[in-house]
């Protein structure tokens, strides 16, 4: 990737979610992947994000013990954005 087209690591991290959600256009997707070929740091980060998303998807409500579910619901009811 040439200097004038290069994504920095910070930019890759910023759009990694869009990348994983298949929400990037072809050109941006390619720029991300070209960066990942040589950047160990971003590759590792992407792998961790992918695992986190897979784990979150696997954790369906029925897998959460009902008492914990009640506690979580109670906690979220009292929660409001800062």
């Amino acid at each position: 990737m040439r200097l004038d087209q290069e994504l920095t690591c910070a930019q890759v991290v910023e759009i990694v979610t869009a990348y994983l959600e298949d929400a990037l256009g072809d050109a941006d997707r390619e720029r991300v992947e070209e960066h990942l070929v040589f950047c160990d740091g971003c590759s590792t980060y992407l792998g961790q994000m992918r695992e986190t998303i897979a784990l979150t998807r696997r954790l369906e409500p029925e897998h959460i013990p009902s008492r914990l579910q009640d506690e979580l619901l109670a906690a979220f009811r009292g929660w409001s954005p800062a």
């Binding site: 004038d4 070209e34 990942l36 070929v37 950047c39």
Partner: protein, 166 residues
């Protein structure tokens, strides 16, 4: 057409994590394969996508050419290019280092790339070393020199691995 594809160990695609079967047709959009198409390299594309395993792939359907890859609706792995092994990776890295040292080793600032490449190779990061060599060339002569260095890398790979021409 036949093209090439770098894969991770075990014939796994580096981005989608899809484990490629050998010899069987794979359709784009099927489970876990990139929905946008089967991506593959012409010889000139190879240096941008270096990976542990290199495979020859047969593509079928409308093959669309992009600046750094070709994309097809289906493809199947034909054979692994066994010549792309640890020795070849090291020799490729050495050729990149030697060319960069010859061209820029004595040039202020650009000479720093030589040390970078040495460090990347010492830790087995061949793709990063190849990228650094292209960046050194670009800083010396602009984007056209980036492309030229990548072309030299591609020519080395085609020659050493006895790959067919584009």
């Amino acid at each position: 057409m036949n093209a090439y594809k770098f894969l991770a160990d075990g014939a796994v695609s580096p981005f989608a994590g899809f484990r490629w079967p050998v010899g069987a047709w794979v359709e784009a959009g099927s489970a876990d394969v990139c929905r946008l198409g089967i991506h593959a390299c012409r010889i000139g594309d190879l240096p941008f996508w270096l990976g542990p395993e290199l495979w020859e792939i047969e593509l079928d359907g409308d093959v669309v050419a992009h600046p750094r890859k070709v994309v097809a609706p289906r493809g199947r792995l034909v054979r692994r290019v066994e010549a792309w092994n640890e020795a070849a990776r090291q020799d490729f890295g050495a050729s990149v280092l030697s060319r960069t040292r010859t061209r820029f080793g004595a040039v202020a600032v650009l000479g720093g790339y030589v040390g970078d490449i040495e460090r990347h190779l010492a830790t087995g990061r061949v793709p990063l070393a190849a990228f650094a060599a292209a960046r050194a060339a670009e800083r010396a002569g602009g984007p056209i020199e980036y492309e030229r260095e990548r072309s030299r890398q591609a020519a080395w790979l085609a020659d050493r691995l006895s790959l067919g021409t584009d």
